[in-house]
């Protein structure tokens, strides 16, 4: 068992990147991601990590450098937030189509405007359809584990897709938590060296990123979507093996006291931990409440999710992003669609809250529960959603 130490979560993320023995890091600073790249530059400059640290002039170039490194057959890491992700958006989509197994941490932060450095999931949802594997993490330990998991899955020859780890800005990046490091031997057992299917080298010339004329474009896109869907198998087996090595088991959908619950909170990211306390307190008050946390966002775990909510009458979906003029929060929109054909469809109430780091406390979630119980009596429509805790609403 590795050493358990108290460490800022950003630093533990950087330590995990070191343990993954990455070859290159492309880094451009943006709050709240900065501590990760700062620590990585320390590790490289102190000789603790033999890697090229490439301090690029923008996030667009960060992801472009990652594309070049990965195409050359080397392991590469970058991390960003919000506007940085928006700037690199173009390349985020392209590297997925090029099947380049880049691992990225997104320190989640709201998208401008108004400009804000604080945490929500509006940046996540801007690249929902980018073709990457995407996972949410709840705490520092999960961040550490998922960096190693990320490279393991992304670089699997059956997968060869980029992978993004969603980690709440400030709520996780800037707090100190106990994190259990892995032993070197455990990493070696879990994460084999990167063996690319194709790479750029004069001894075996390949052309990467050619033009997709109409006669081939659709085929190219199907050839991208299918491995993403199929990657779920590799994801689940990589989680199983991770559990067997370090004793922490992860699932596409995590549940807490959900089996017998009439009402389920549905969350993504670090709110899950707060809501688990809410569940305990509401249960003490005799309420039948549980929690379902979506960990795997893409490929979406349809079966696991339907199974997790099959006994519930009410779902309270917590969104931290807006689909302007649409059906509310992106998570709720998607879950309504996922459950469309199920028998005994649950009532779904959708709250958008915690935008740009506004605190959402245990009491707030309790009020959302009460509000939800009132709302379901009115049989709300699919497009119903509510901004929680907004002045004047």
């Amino acid at each position: 068992m590795g050493k358990r130490i108290g460490l800022e979560v950003s630093l533990s993320a950087a330590e995990a990147v070191k343990m993954a023995d990455v070859d290159c890091i492309a880094a451009y600073p943006i709050t709240p991601q900065t501590h990760i790249v700062e620590h990585l530059s320390e590790l490289v400059n102190d000789g603790q990590l033999d890697a090229e640290f490439i301090p690029v002039e923008s996030e667009h170039s960060a992801m472009s450098v990652c594309a070049g490194v990965s195409a050359a057959g080397a392991r590469v890491f970058t991390c960003t937030s919000s506007q940085g992700l928006a700037l690199m958006n173009e390349i985020v989509h392209i590297v997925a189509s090029m099947r380049l197994p880049i691992v990225t941490i997104l320190a989640n932060r709201s998208l401008s405007g108004p400009i804000s450095i604080w945490n929500d999931h509006t940046d996540v949802m801007s690249i929902r359809d980018c073709g990457w594997i995407q996972v949410f993490v709840n705490n520092g330990q999960e961040v550490f584990d998922h960096v190693l998991f990320g490279f393991r899955v992304a670089e699997s020859q059956n997968v060869m897709l980029p992978l993004m780890i969603h980690m709440d800005g400030f709520i996780l990046t800037h707090v100190i938590e106990p994190v259990e490091m892995w032993e070197k031997e455990q990493v070696e057992r879990y994460l084999p060296p990167f063996k690319p299917v194709h790479s750029l080298h004069p001894d075996k010339p390949v052309t990467m990123g050619g033009v997709g004329m109409p006669y081939i474009f659709s085929e190219a896109k199907v050839a991208q979507d299918e491995p993403l869907i199929q990657s779920k198998g590799e994801i689940i087996s990589a989680w199983k093996e991770l559990g067997d090595i370090v004793g922490r088991y992860y699932n596409p959908v995590e549940t807490y006291k959900s089996d017998d619950a009439e009402t389920l909170f549905i969350t993504q990211g670090s709110y899950g931990e707060t809501v688990s306390m809410v569940v305990d307190e509401l249960r003490d008050d005799g309420k039948s409440v549980g929690l379902v946390m979506d960990r795997l966002w893409r490929p979406f775990p349809f079966d696991e999710f339907r199974d997790a909510v099959k006994n519930a009458n009410n779902l309270i979906v917590i969104d931290r992003a807006i689909s302007y003029g649409g059906q509310g929060g992106p998570l709720a929109i998607e879950l309504r669609a996922v459950l469309y054909k199920t028998k005994n469809q649950p009532n779904i109430t959708n709250f958008i809250c915690g935008l740009a780091g506004r605190d959402v406390t245990v009491d707030d979630f309790k009020r959302m529960y009460e509000r939800s119980m009132e709302k379901i009596k009115t049989n709300p429509l699919e497009e119903d959603y509510e901004y929680y805790g907004v002045r004047g609403k």
Binding site: D23, H60, S61, G68, S70, A71, I91, P205, G210
Partner: protein, 309 residues
């Protein structure tokens, strides 16, 4: 230089790394330049290409004209992608995961991909000092999208977004001096070239590849389609560009400027302008304005060369 060009075909390797069968227009001097660059760089080269004419004409899946490893990601990031490839290969060699050997890294883009949308990524890569060669194939407009003006389009030229109108006579800004911008990064090597002078071009590319650190070569690439001139006059137009002094051939090695093709008496710039349809609307007054500008810019360059810095 003039006389050696007669024997050029004997001096240049017969090996092709940019193969025949690509889809460029007739008389495309850019495709010719790419072919010469590929020959000069040789087998052990990895190319990162920007979006643009050369990318679409050479890589329609599942075909390719590239016999060396080649990657295209997007329009504005060839320099950043090349940075990544260079860094990746370097670290793999250092860690002993691939055998050590000299590999040339080449980033290539058009004038739009270099002096407009790609200038930031290029500046970043030059400043970071990656060991690579960046080549701008300058055909003086966004030819791939249909001849729209760029910051590299010369004063007076008619394009589809700087048309020769009744009030505004085509492009009203002066061509951005990209080689000088590259040189301002204090990189070891900067040069201009033109496929109308193939030996000069090849020598410069070989030197750029040999030199450690970033090198920048700006190649004037005559585009008969966009410049409105017959395909068979592309080479001649390139020669006139050099002979009039509107596009002098020089290099900057470790800060020292040098003409690589010396022109005795400069040809009047009108000779160059009048052979191209894009300048056909210019009156003598505008041609005179351009002549004065060329004289001034050429004089500035000459002074740097005479001063040796």
């Amino acid at each position: 230089m003039e006389s050696t060009n007669v024997y050029a075909y004997k001096l240049i390797t017969r090996k092709e790394y940019f193969s025949p069968g690509h889809r460029a227009c007739q008389g495309c001097a850019e495709a010719l330049a790419v072919r010469l660059v590929a020959k000069a760089m040789g087998r052990d080269t990895i190319v990162a290409s920007a979006t643009g004419c050369m990318e679409i004409i050479s890589s329609p899946m599942p075909f390719t004209n590239w016999r060396v490893p080649w990657i295209h990601v997007a329009f504005e990031n060839a320099a950043a992608v090349a940075s990544g490839v260079e860094a990746g290969i370097k670290v793999l060699m250092r860690k002993g995961r691939i055998p050590k050997k000299r590999i040339n890294f080449l980033a290539m883009a058009g004038d739009g991909g270099t002096s407009d949308i790609g200038v930031q990524a290029l500046s970043g890569a030059l400043e970071r000092g990656h060991d690579f060669t960046y080549i701008c194939y300058d055909n003086e407009a966004y030819m791939n999208t249909g001849i729209q003006r760029s910051s590299s389009t010369p004063f007076g030229a008619a394009t589809t977004t700087s048309p020769a109108g009744r009030v505004v006579p085509g492009q009203v800004t002066w061509k951005k001096n990209m080689p000088e911008i590259a040189a301002a990064h204090n990189i070891p090597y900067v040069a201009t070239a033109c496929p109308s002078y193939p030996i000069d071009l090849i020598e410069k590319v070989k030197k750029a590849a040999r030199i450690k650190g970033p090198a920048y070569i700006h190649i004037l690439s005559v585009c008969p389609t966009g410049w409105r001139l017959p395909p068979h006059q592309a080479i001649k137009a390139g020669r006139f560009a050099v002979e009039t002094g509107i596009f002098p051939l020089y290099e900057v090695e470790n800060g020292r400027y040098r003409f690589t093709v010396k022109i005795g008496n400069l040809r009047p710039v009108g000779d160059y302008l009048k052979m191209q349809g894009r300048f056909s609307h210019l009156d003598e007054k505008m041609i005179d304005t351009i002549q004065k500008r060329v004289d001034k810019e050429y004089g500035k360059l000459k002074k740097k060369i005479e001063q040796g810095d």
